[in-house]
Amino acid sequence: MANTEQSVHRKRRIVNSLMTILTAACAVFATSILLFIISYIAIQGFSSLSFQFLTDTPKPVGEGGGIGNAIVGSAMMTALAVVLGLPVGIAAGVYLAEYGKNWFGNIVRFVADTLIGIPSIIIGIFIYTLVVMPMGRQSGLAGGLALAIIMLPIVARTTEEMIRLVPNSMREGALALGAPQWRVSWNIVLPAAASGIATGAMLAIARITGETAPLLFTALNSRFYNFFYDQPMSSLTVQIYNYATGPFEVEHAMAWAATLILVGLILVINIFVRFLTRKKF
């Protein structure tokens, strides 16, 4: 009797330690995959990185070439997306937080979350039918618009969450002093939530910088420096895709170097945001 009780007890203890080890192993596995991918990119990327690579345009295989125009294109389309998507996203977020406790707010919230989960290639098709088909050609404008739509619901939801963190006593204080509601939102609540909104915006920018699928047939690609939004535009991600799927070793090396730039940028933004918000977690 005492014996079986002891063995049951031992079995429970063994199961307990076994599961602790197993769950820890899952965590170790995921983190080592991350470290492996990042170090692989660093090793492969650095070996073919040069200043010329960062400023050149793509050239026929064997003549070098670079990603200068892709960097400019990515920057221009991201900038357009920020100019269009950020103000609208912040405004929508303010609405959800300050006026959105009704059926309409609930619907917008629900649809925004669902829109975040919709594959970005669908946004690409949408912009293709809306902008590219009427214009008759792919353009930086179309690419930037697609990125803006991807950014919009993300910014709206993070803004809402940040504004909800602003204590109600601040709103009440301002209202009690006779400020109209819009002044309270604009001059009191928004500044108080500004740093949180900014970090959310930075994460959204990091996200759209890495997007490829919505640019494939909206912005297409270009072999040249292009500073006009009505022309097809190159981007880092589409350039990586083209180099990676190309048949030549040289192209693959350039894909890794371009990836180093892209992933480096995205990781720096993420780590910087983490550093800024470390007290909140």
């Binding site: 199961v15 599961m19 602790t20 769950t23 820890a24 899952c26 965590a27 995921a30 983190t31 991350l34 991918i37 692989y40 990119i41 405004a91 929508a92 609405y95 006026y99 959105g100 619907i107 629900f110 649809v111 925004a112 979350d113 829109l115 975040i116 594959p119 290639i121 669908i122 946004i123 690409g124 098709i125 949408f126 293709y128 039918t129 809306l130 088909m133 619901p153 709206a156 969450e161 109209p180 509601q181 819009w182 002044r183 939102s185 996200r207 910088t209 890495g210 997007e211 490829t212 699928a213 047939f217 991600t237 895709y241 990676a244 799927t245 693959h252 992933v263 995205i266 990781l267 983490r274």
Partner: protein, 309 residues
């Protein structure tokens, strides 16, 4: 004075309302434009579009079944691999690890989600595919080769590679949501179980039971991401519209079909077929994401998926 405030309020509120409404408008417009532009094939093929298994654009034959099959199977492989690992990580982070260890690990798992899809694709082509061709695939064929799933020629490019890459990509999302859901379970439940003499693991199983619908929501959210994941899959799946039991064979998903072919589709009926299959993807991911959100909301976990982009 009070009057100007009232007018200002009205203008301000209207501007905000329009911004919020734009989100609804975009989703409605996506649906409308896609239906509008896929009318030629919608009218011509009807339901046969979804059940046909031959895809020959040159002969104007459009059967979407191979892509639906590829999307389902690759997502299923991803879930089978990612769900246990994600659960393990989330349990470790919430129930077991001290906060000093949990924080950096949680951050590193989040960083996995920050890596762009095209980078996973690049890594898949040059690291994972050779690994499967030379090691994992050989191992599977040696020991499980009698199963139809593991027969055929090993190229490293195909359904299994896509499924594994997808698993890596959805792990951080499932982990993040399960973490939120577990954290929403009241501590008193753990204390009660421990006080009754349960071991740490037995306590965890009780917590898991109470968080079940939220965990289901996390899995469904992961499924939604896997279904729609585009670039990485396009780069490693081989882009071949065939239905094969073997996981080593090249296949194709809806998203990868669109990524690889949309830019070249100039002919009206081909374009319509691609947009129609895109519409299918849109509707499926919309429903899957809505379902995930409802499940996660039901346990009071942080329902905002903006944290999990």
């Amino acid at each position: 004075m009070a009057q100007t405030g009232a007018i200002g309020d009205k203008i301000f509120r209207t501007i905000l309302l329009l911004a919020a409404a734009s989100i609804l408008l975009i989703v409605v417009a996506i649906f409308y434009m896609m239906v509008q532009n896929s009318l030629p094939t919608l009218e011509r093929f009807g339901i046969g579009f979804l059940t046909g298994s031959e895809w020959r654009p040159a002969q104007e034959e459009f059967g979407a079944l191979p892509f639906i099959y590829g999307t389902l199977v690759s997502s299923l492989i991803a879930l089978v691999l990612a769900v246990p690992i994600s659960l393990g990580i989330a349990i470790f982070l919430v129930e077991q690890a001290p906060i000093k260890i949990a924080r950096p690990i949680a951050f590193m798992v989040e960083l996995l989600a920050a890596i762009p899809s095209v980078v996973y694709g690049l890594w898949g082509i040059f690291v994972l595919a050779p690994f499967i061709r030379n090691h994992l695939g050989v191992f599977l064929q040696d020991y499980l080769g009698w199963l139809p799933f593991f027969q055929g020629r090993l190229t490293g490019i195909g359904m299994l590679t896509a499924g594994i890459i997808l698993a890596l990509m959805i792990t951080p999302i499932i982990t993040a949501v399960v973490r939120d859901v577990l954290e929403a379970v009241p501590t008193t439940q753990r204390e009660a179980a421990l006080a009754l003499g349960a071991t740490k693991w037995e306590t965890t199983t009780i917590v898991l039971g109470n968080a079940a619908s939220g965990i289901a929501g996390a899995v469904v959210l992961g499924l939604g991401r896997a279904i729609g994941e585009t670039m990485a899959v396009t780069m490693v799946i081989g882009n071949s519209p065939q239905i094969s039991a073997s996981l080593f064979e090249p296949a194709n998903t809806i998203a990868s079909l669109l990524a690889a072919n949309f830019a070249e589709a100039t002919d009206r009926i081909y374009l319509s077929a691609l947009i129609e299959i895109g519409l299918v993807l849109f509707l499926v991911t919309f429903v899957v994401n809505a379902l995930a959100k409802l499940l996660i909301m039901s346990v009071g976990g942080n329902s905002s998926s903006s944290k999990h982009v």
